[in-house]
């Protein structure tokens, strides 16, 4: 089934991103839901679906968020992992199948004030973790080191991801890290897990985010300019370490192939690009695999400044997880909607009509969505 132009994002909402001590994941999610409903010009009783997404600690599931939201909606589901892309895809499928018409997707986190240990091994302890390969920065650093070896990528080229996103964040009042970061300062920052520095790795913050999605037909009667879903694609790499090159996540290429084939669009159609970024390595890999530059060419491409303010491929215009907030990639979609509505203030990209959001579940799954102001852009 072709999804293009049939479903639209009509509401976005979020709490303050930062430190929200004493507040539960569910409170943060429901506060964001209320904000998203208000943005959409809707009330709780207009909803017939909730798609919750667990936090990294497994909190904020559909039953817990649903209880606090206090509504026995017909369609209530939960994802074990988010980035917002996977939730959007489930919402699109539920709406197009007739299971629901108007769905709110939610996410909440309290990982910062909850002092979650992101270095704790997620599964059992194997030789790698017992040897000290802990935290997402470890495998990301291994992937970057291999990229440097294969393609000659330099620290400075790679640093333009973090430095460029900070330039965007300076223009974003919601961003947590807004202090200017020059390339000289970046290069003077000590390594965290070499070759990664602290600015290359996500911050951790508290907060909730929600997005309201409905049919294109209903969207036309709502106050905000609808942002249509032009195409969606996913690709897994769940064989994991049994594919020897899995740290390089070659299956991202297959997600790219799907999204371009399904929409009939290509990289030149994308006005603003969002890449979920627990580390800047994700952006390096996805710029290449989605075809914005050639394989191995992301270093020189970044150094040419295309992704920075004023460049032809604005990337993570809110600052991403490196400079704006943690929020597991959910704020990327919020920002894409803001840009397409023309509500991005000082960082607004002129005439932004088509946005793309690429994300992944670490070394296991990829998802991509294309959003547009015109429902027929990919039809």
């Amino acid at each position: 089934m072709d999804v293009a132009g049939k479903v639209a994002i009509v509401g976005i909402g979020h709490t303050v991103q930062g430190e929200l001590p004493g507040r539960s994941v569910e409170e943060n999610a429901v506060d964001a839901i209320e904000a998203a409903l208000a943005d959409a010009g809707l009330v709780r009783d207009d909803l017939d679906g909730l798609i919750a997404c667990k936090s990294a600690q497994g909190l904020g599931n559909d039953v817990a968020v649903g209880e606090l939201l206090g509504a026995n909606l017909p369609y209530v589901q939960c994802l074990d992992y988010g980035t917002c892309n996977f939730s959007l895809h489930l919402a699109v499928m539920a709406i197009l199948s007739g299971m629901a018409e108007t769905i709110v997707m939610s996410y909440g986190a309290n990982a910062r004030t909850g002092k979650v240990d992101f270095g704790a091994p997620l599964g059992g302890v194997d030789l790698a973790t017992a040897s000290g390969l802990v935290h997402i920065a470890g495998p990301a650093a291994l992937a970057l080191q291999r990229h440097k070896h294969l393609y000659g990528t330099t620290d400075e080229q790679f640093g333009w991801i973090a430095v460029g996103q900070r330039e965007w964040a300076e223009r974003n009042p919601n961003a947590i890290f807004r202090k200017p970061l020059s390339m000289t300062e970046y290069l003077a920052t000590p390594y965290l897990v070499e070759p990664l520095r602290r600015p290359d790795v996500t911050m951790i913050s508290d907060g909730g985010v929600a997005v309201v999605v409905t049919t294109a037909e209903r969207a036309r009667d709502l106050p905000r300019r609808p942002v249509y879903v032009s195409g969606i694609a996913e690709q897994s790499g769940v064989r994991g370490a049994h594919d020897p090159d899995n740290l390089l996540r070659p299956w991202l290429r297959d997600a790219a192939r799907s999204i371009w084939a399904r929409t009939g669009l290509d990289t030149s159609d994308i006005d603003v690009l969002y890449i979920q970024d627990p580390t800047a390595v994700w952006s390096l890999q996805m710029l290449e695999y989605y075809g914005f530059c050639g394989l191995g060419e992301a270093g020189p491409f970044l150094a040419e400044g295309h992704t920075r303010p004023g460049g032809r491929l604005p990337l993570n215009t809110h600052g991403g997880q490196l400079s704006e907030s943690y929020a597991w990639g959910w704020m990327h979609m919020v920002e894409a909607v803001r840009q397409l509505r023309g509500e991005a203030g000082e960082r607004q990209v002129g005439d932004a009509e088509v946005a793309m959001y690429c994300s992944s579940q670490a070394f296991s799954k990829a998802a991509a969505s294309i959003l547009a102001t015109d429902p027929a852009v990919a039809a």
Binding site: A128, S131, V193, E194, L196
Partner: protein, 135 residues
């Protein structure tokens, strides 16, 4: 002092890997249906879905596929050990195994030749670690 991160050496699937390490060997599963050497340990073969396997010793030599240097301990168990280097080693027999570069080694590079040694941590746990071969 936080306790070290230790594997469950009694794990029904991975146990023989740890038993081999205790005896100074690197052993991985070999699928009896298709012959695939697989690591990390898994109950079945991801290529052919065969459920029968045997443990096969591999040569303790290989080359560095990639590496990362921890300048900060991102888990309390490694406090006081920084800087330390973790490397993905492509064994001469095929599989890639991730482990620690021995502490006294010089800085490493992708492609460097390495040889395993066996670091006794507790009575039950021995970790495979890597030494650079003389150039």
């Amino acid at each position: 002092m936080t306790a070290p991160l230790l594997p469950d050496v009694a794990d029904p699937v991975a146990g023989p890997f740890w038993a081999a390490a205790r005896e100074g060997r690197i052993a991985v599963q070999r699928c009896l249906t298709c012959g695939l050497l697989r690591y990390p340990p898994l109950v079945g073969c991801p290529d052919c879905l065969g459920r029968t396997y045997e443990w096969q010793d591999l040569r303790p030599t290989g080359s560095i596929w990639s590496f990362a240097v921890y300048h900060r301990a991102l888990h309390a168990a490694f406090a006081g050990q920084t800087p330390y280097t973790v490397a993905v080693v492509e064994l001469d027999d095929g599989p890639r195994i991730t482990g620690r570069i021995a502490r006294d080694e010089r800085p490493v590079a992708v492609g460097d030749r390495v040889r395993a040694s066996f670091e006794v941590v507790t009575d039950e746990v021995t970790l495979i670690q890597w030494h650079l071969e003389a150039v």
